[in-house]
């Protein structure tokens, strides 16, 4: 297993960081969050067709870059730092992983090249975003290949070219492809706390589907772990950027004739945040290294999700508090991170759910030993 980042990976991070710094500054994020799609099509095109980032973790044989969870994590950490709002998590991470894990060969050949280049934007429809055990409990495909049911929260569905759905069927769980423009499909926007990530609800009423492949329980859990670790990277990225900007603010804001950063209460709070961040980063990187070689990834994936969620939320709370009234304004950027932190915290399982899973895994190992 990798022990630390390679030289190539460090360079890759620089490339991604520079791209996002140039193409997705906070001013653009703020402007785009007011739009319906939430992202800039030209930046998405360049990110996909010039850099191939959406296919980073997808197999080279199908037009991906053929890297793995580590490189994908680097991208998400950098996106988390800038709150990049494009359909990367929805299409590249969630739909991309689902396609490469579950779709049959012929479908993979068709779908992965276009997902990798970003030409095809897919929204993955899941009827639960809180735990894999609940996936497929409300969405079902009948014997006539018609999909019925409702998914309460779907990311980027309104701007997607296709919907991919995990649903139950007489043959068990499967991955299906549905056209969002079919008349048996109803999409409507939901208001989201985090305006940089667009949410909607999707209703299916005997919608025609194309079956892409079978989904088994083990595969679904693997998918969930991969997604959790990707999301954890986004969270440590957000937490890292937020801690840096907060510390900078405490150095320039003066009260009582001195910079507020010289007050020990604030120093100690920042020191604790740095420790939490270092630990959450350690867990998250380790989870990516483990996933890359399949070494007991479930335990560390849950550990990463729990720690990164808590760390991002705690940093976001402090980031507002340490800015005082300014931190509570719409004009200051801090609340954008706070809202992302809140949504990421609940997405794919709250921290306590993942902690419970860790203990279950330890009990399992104990019994096996």
């Amino acid at each position: 297993m990798q022990e630390t980042f390679t030289e190539d990976q460090l360079q890759f991070r620089e490339v991604v960081r520079k791209f996002l710094h140039d193409k997705s500054p906070m001013s653009a994020v703020r402007q785009l969050q007011e739009t319906e799609s939430g992202y800039d099509a030209e930046v998405w095109r360049s990110l996909g067709q010039d850099l191939g980032l959406p296919g980073t973790h997808l197999p080279e044989a199908y037009g991906g870059l053929g890297y793995g969870p580590i490189e994908l994590g680097i991208i998400l950490e950098e996106m988390g730092r800038t709150l990049y709002g494009g359909p990367f998590l929805s299409s590249a991470v969630l739909a991309g992983y689902a396609t490469s894990l579950f779709a049959e060969e012929a479908s993979r050949q068709v779908l992965i090249p276009d997902i990798s280049s970003g030409i095809l934007r897919v929204a993955l429809v899941l009827d639960s975003l809180s735990c894999p055990e609940l996936v497929g409990k409300t969405l079902t495909v009948d014997a006539a290949d018609r999909l019925t049911g409702r998914a309460e929260i779907v990311i980027d569905a309104l701007s997607a070219d296709e919907l991919h759905v995990i649903a139950d069927s007489p043959n068990g769980l499967g991955l299906y492809r549905v056209s969002p423009s079919a008349e048996e499909v109803t999409l409507y926007a939901r208001e989201s706390i985090d305006l940089t990530r667009k949410l909607s609800s999707v209703l299916f009423d005997h919608a025609p589907v194309e079956r892409l492949g079978q989904v088994d329980a083990g595969g679904l859990q693997r998918f969930w772990d991969l997604a959790c670790v990707a999301l954890s990277h986004e969270m440590i990225g957000g937490a890292g950027a937020l801690l840096e900007s907060t510390v900078e603010y405490t150095k320039i804001r003066v009260q009582f004739g001195r910079p507020i950063g010289s007050f020990q209460a604030l120093k100690h709070r920042c020191a604790d945040l740095l420790m939490a961040l270092e630990f959450a980063k350690a867990a998250t990187y380790q989870a990516a290294f483990s996933l890359a070689v399949d070494d007991n990834p479930g335990f560390v994936a849950s550990m990463a999700k729990a720690m990164a969620s808590d760390c991002f939320m705690e940093t976001a709370r402090a980031a507002i508090q340490l800015r005082g009234g300014l931190g509570f304004t719409w004009e200051d950027d801090t609340h954008l991170f706070f809202k992302r932190a809140k949504c990421d915290e609940v997405l794919l399982g709250l921290p306590h759910v993942h902690r419970e899973r860790m203990i279950q895994q330890m009990e399992g190992n104990d019994r096996a030993a």
């Binding site: 405490t250 001195r258 010289s262 020191a271 270092e278 550990m303 720690m307 902690r355």
Partner: protein, 418 residues
């Protein structure tokens, strides 16, 4: 020079085949080790070592372990003294002190804290005055772990009262076995007496036992403190374990040595909170079926696993020659405190009312009780949690320092009156 790991293994084995015998005396054996450079292979080649990397040293350790060979003496603050001398010691000091540290002939203690200055180590008021070709030391030190066993001490004392506090300090090596040094054990809240107060009354230090030059004590002490913090961060225990329960004089003498040297440290695993016992205890008591306990257990596992991973990353980073990671020591030390506290809390939840009991008949025959009443030490020893947070905030995050009240000549600075 040997570089390949398998060549190292061969070389160690060859040396052991020729030089080791269980019938040697402990000191004789370790003298051979030191002479051959195998006692501390990570030390520089001109200081009894071989300049090995961590990876190379691990190979040597592994051979020693599998062959059950007695290694160099390990226990207590000797490592602080040795590693500080490696950085700041003169050639003569290294030659006089390092071999007997490795052979175990001499043990050491750290004479830094005083009744009037703990966190504020630079406020030390123990006085060292030059008299002919030696220094005469007067003052009191306190909280000095294993001073009651020590042959020598690393000592911070003031040699100039007119300079600002950090500039008037010097760093000495002092012989503890002399009439001017009186050591009195102090009983701790957990009933042990591993630290002491040390009274220095016209105690004598040789002129050539000044380390780093007069007035440079602060720089040398900082090195010692950072070595100490890293030890906490890596969970390095000042205790040592027997190399193996085997027949022969060298093993018998090692057992006897450890019985004495380890005495101050029997409770040290407990001050780390014993996270290793949590799972077993939760199962035994049935507390594992309590959802609230499971949550707190998982939080503990998160912290202690992340601390280990983080330490591994730092080591891997260092191995690539990327230099020292600044926050590592202080973050690790603070992490160790947080882990210990969380572990103590989880043990409390698991034990319930039995957490009131201690001694035989109490949970794990007193180990849990000792844990609950030893954990507070880890947030104090080696620099308090608050001091680590100051270091992280100011030196890592670059937050502004507070205005100092302690500039100017040391003699004019407000101090504790004893």
């Amino acid at each position: 020079m040997i570089v390949q790991l398998n060549e190292i293994e061969t070389a160690v084995n060859q040396f052991l085949d020729q030089a080791f015998s269980p019938d040697l005396s402990l000191i004789e054996w370790r003298q051979r080790l030191v002479a051959a450079g195998w006692a501390a292979p990570s030390w520089p080649e001109d200081c009894f070592g071989r300049g090995f990397t961590a990876e190379q040293t691990a190979v040597v350790d592994r051979v020693f372990k599998t062959r059950r060979i007695v290694g160099a003496a390990q226990v207590g603050p000797r490592r602080l003294a040795a590693e500080t001398l490696l950085v700041h010691g003169s050639v003569d000091q290294k030659n006089r002190y390092l071999p007997s540290i490795l052979t175990g002939e001499h043990s050491w203690c750290q004479l830094f804290s005083e009744p009037g200055s703990g966190s504020d180590l630079a406020g030390a008021a123990t006085k060292a005055e030059r008299s002919g070709d030696q220094w005469i030391v007067n003052g009191q030190k306190v909280w000095n772990t294993s001073a009651h066993h020590a042959d020598f001490g690393i000592l911070v004392a003031r040699t100039d009262w007119d300079l600002p506090k950090h500039q008037g300090l010097s760093y000495f090596l002092i012989d503890m076995r002399q009439p001017g040094v009186e050591v009195r054990p102090l009983k701790q809240m957990n009933g042990h007496a591993s630290f002491n107060e040390v009274f220095l009354t016209d105690a004598v230090v040789r002129q050539d036992d000044l380390v780093g030059g007069e007035g440079h004590g602060w720089a040398v002490a900082t090195t010692t403190l950072s070595i100490e913090r890293q030890g906490f961060a890596r969970g390095r225990n000042p205790r040592a374990t027997h190399s193996a329960p085997a027949q022969g004089r060298v093993y018998d003498e090692e057992a006897k040595e450890l019985e004495i040297d380890n005495e101050p440290y029997t409770w040290y695993p407990q001050r780390e909170g014993r996270p290793d016992l949590v799972f077993e205890r939760a199962r035994e008591t049935g507390a594992i079926s309590d959802a609230a306990v499971r949550q707190e257990m998982a939080k503990l596992v998160c912290l202690s696993e992340a601390a280990k991973i983080s330490a591994r990353f730092v080591a891997a980073h260092r191995k690539l020659g990327n230099g020292e990671v600044l926050p590592a020591g202080s973050i690790g030390k603070l992490g160790a405190s947080v882990i210990a506290r969380q572990a103590a809390q989880v043990h409390t939840m698991i034990s319930g009312t039995d957490a009131m009991l201690s001694g035989s008949g109490s949970p794990m025959d007193g180990v849990i009780a000792e844990t609950l009443i030893s954990v507070p030490a880890i947030s104090i020893a080696g620099g308090t949690d608050e001091i680590q947070r100051n270091i992280i905030a100011e030196r890592v995050l670059g937050m502004p320092k507070e205005q100092r009240q302690d500039t100017g000549p040391f003699r004019d600075i407000p101090r504790n009156i004893s």
